[in-house]
Symmetry: C2
């Protein structure tokens, strides 16, 4: 509960200290709390409501493409984790181990799932026998644990919420198609629903998922110019199928290995929402994901008829998510609170407005004030929410484009990375040595090789040898 | 994937071996699979879809009463678990312990949550400072782990899915009101949505939740006459608040402890659905919870126009959850599969029906066949689903009432428990010694002291002393 009138003054300006601004907003918008267990967070109602909306929309989009939801055990036996070599190397160092059940020590220790490829493989091994059993397009919504050393709310914590899709197919082509389909679904979701523009592309081998043949990613640019990997989709080829012996009898009566994919999005999307759209007054939520879209603030609410009218207007706007703030706080305090929580529209209405049959709508993103006849409120609110959703995406896109640079040689590259926060587009030879060198010398990493390639020059920005790919580079969360 | 034509023949008759029938249905209706981790289950799509529907409806009802969702860490430090004496005694013997994070041993071991009272208390301790911060009416949807020795799909497993509500209030009365409100919400949900009649009542001290002052329960009777505790709601008084030091400053400026409740429902409700409504052809799902409500089976589907018409009818029925089974299996096989999966209505339509502009609807619960003009299908399907929902509840209620007996003395009691599966209503003195004796000698336990009391006799059925309560007794899952 907020207890101080100077709500906005309690958050650091984003231009002064972006990291502190972020932490302040997370706290003051009451999205998350720190638990007394190191590295584990508490999703408070305002934070969890965002995840519920993200989840409902993503789940609907998944199901439209034939995805079915399942639920797998939260623990994995050590021997099962170890069957795929790259995978275990990637995850074993950062899992939590269960060694005792009840009063007894376990014969084999179990890790809490850091991701569930191994469990799905173990399941598919028995479940898939014939080509008739394919494809399997399963997904689960759950929490996972990774024993991170440094943690930040939503961005990196020892436990986070996510969805993980795991599919099995008869052919490599079908698996590849599903991998790209889900990546494009993620990208469309980010742009349409969260108003976050993303770059779609492929990860370099160095950056790909442990055990994958190819990892595709969407990369978003935060307000401070840092990149955030916002969703990934992996094509495993038949690597896991061979390690876990997942075979089916094909139409030609031959035994074949399946081809698999996995793809996931997490609660770090909430971090992206904050860092792409937020401002010095707090959170700014795109209307589609906002748990509350309109906050009605009655002015002089003790005067006869004011609260009644406010509630009448709420009823009138029943096709939107509306609340009336009828608490005993001052209007100014209520304004700050609505702004901090990022509620897209505020409707102010006092005795004089009501007498004139009008109300004032204030947009959270632009602070624009619009006086509207109460008869036209419903239409106007709908229009403003639509406009705001579109303009927030455009604004974020402009910001991203204005912070995307081109480097033709290594001096330019280093100069940009050192002085201009954002993406750097530059050519690369394909050699990991250059990637390692760039990371070591600049801390920038290869975010992705975008699907939409551009020809910037003929040579690798680092070594000067023949370039094979244009890469987006950046410092990342 | 089903691979055999004799689907129904593969399940044991419920009259021959109810336990085996249950296991067969769980398997053949593809609700759940066994994982390779002992005691941990896999929710397959058909099983998880039931939970999704249960969850969506319960969540909507929760929110109508002001509940807000949050998410707490999945682990609890040992020292935190130990603060409330009764609670730790109740749960410590059956938790899973995490002792290592990454490559290091933890300084303090953590248990995977068996329930989250301790975490909510730890959270409320900081979150609740003033009477303005009350009430807190929070809930979370998550999975919990209890290291059970014997496990059965949905009824008892080492991990299960549930919701746990945890509230904090200024007064005992308000906490008591919330405890009963949620129990009644559970009861109404079971009856309206799952068509499962329940007895509402209070648990005896012996059977109440570890750390609670009072536990309320809803008890349902399965087809085999065994009882299933289907939802519980606990009033903690200020016991946890004192152990965890949750205090607030009241309007009178005095520091006071809060009063708390918790309440939960789990995936064992799916077990109840199976065991209350199922028959020898498999699952029978009440229309409201059924993921698919209508299965259209085209007859002679290769004939021109048949599949087209089936899909047209599906479109016509778009306000219901409908699928067309256009697989290459035989109609007979499709019928068995629809029956096994418990889909409420089947619509059969072949070339002759289509020519006559009609279709045949078959009810899953009664096998009744109704020939209906295609023009009237939409109305008729709606009516039949409503009727089926109501009649399934009535049928279950009749079965329960027919298996609820009255015992006036201990000989009668023992005779009934030994020979007639069901509930036994009998008077009790209130002494735990009698409860212990009854359990030891008959294996029946006190299911609840129903809110609606009846006067059966003046004396305790066991010891003959003055009776204080009428109790429902029964053998339980």
């Amino acid at each position: 509960m907020a207890k101080d009138k100077k709500l906005v003054e309690q958050i650091t300006s984003m231009d002064v200290d972006f990291a502190q601004w972020y932490t302040d907003v997370v706290k003051k918008a009451e999205l998350m709390g720190y638990s007394s267990i190191k590295g584990f967070m508490i999703f408070k109602p305002a934070g969890y409501a965002l995840w519920e909306n993200i989840k409902a929309e993503l789940d609907k989009r998944f199901k439209e493409t034939g995805v079915e939801n399942v639920y797998m055990p939260m623990v994995i036996p050590e021997s099962l984790l170890q069957k795929e070599k790259d995978h275990v190397e990637g995850f074993a160092p950062e899992v939590a181990w269960v060694t005792h059940g009840g009063l007894n020590e376990l014969q084999e220790r179990l890790c809490i799932r850091p991701t569930s490829e191994t469990l799905f493989c173990d399941f598919y091994k028995d479940e898939v026998q014939s080509y008739r059993d394919l494809p399997k397009v399963y997904n689960q919504w759950c929490s996972v644990v990774r024993w991170e050393k440094e943690t930040r709310p939503f961005l990196r914590s020892r436990e986070f919420l996510w969805q993980e899709g795991h599919t099995a197919h008869a052919t490599f082509e079908e698996a590849e198609e599903r991998t790209q389909q889900m990546l494009n679904l993620y990208a469309d979701f980010c742009e349409d629903f969260l108003a976050i523009p993303v770059v779609r592309g492929k990860k370099t081998d160095k950056e790909k998922f442990a055990g994958a043949e190819a990892t595709y990613t969407i990369e978003a640019l935060m307000h401070d110019g840092k990149a955030l990997q916002s969703g990934t989709s992996h094509n495993f080829g038949d690597g896991f199928a061979k390690a876990y012996e997942i075979q089916y009898t094909d139409k030609d009566n031959k035994l074949k290995h399946v081809f698999q994919t996995s793809w996931g999005m997490t609660t770090r999307l909430i971090g992206a929402l904050i860092m792409v759209h937020g401002d010095n007054s707090g959170l700014v939520l795109p209307p589609k994901v906002a748990p509350t879209q309109v906050c009605i603030v009655p002015i002089m609410q003790k005067k006869e008829g004011v609260l009644e009218k406010a509630n009448e207007v709420k009823e009138m706007l029943s096709n939107f998510r509306v609340k009336v703030d009828d608490s005993d706080k001052s209007p100014g305090w209520k304004f700050s609170e609505q702004e901090m929580r990022g509620i897209p529209l505020r409707i102010e209405m006092g005795p004089r407005d009501i007498e004139a049959n009008q109300a004032i709508i204030v947009r959270r993103d632009t602070s624009e004030k619009i006086t509207v006849s109460i008869d036209e409120l419903q239409t106007k609110v709908g229009e403003l929410l639509d406009t705001m959703q579109k303009e927030m995406l455009e604004r974020a896109r402009k910001h991203r484009d204005a912070h995307t640079y081109v480097a033709k040689n290594y001096d330019e590259f280093k100069e940009i990375v050192a002085t201009k926060p954002g993406f750097v587009k530059a050519m690369w030879c394909g050699d990991q040595a250059c990637e390692d060198k760039i990371k070591e010398e600049t801390t920038a990493t290869a975010r992705c090789m975008p699907f939409t390639q551009e020809h910037i020059s003929d040579t690798c920005v680092c070594c000067g040898k023949k370039a094979t790919k244009m890469v987006y580079w950046g410092k990342a969360y």
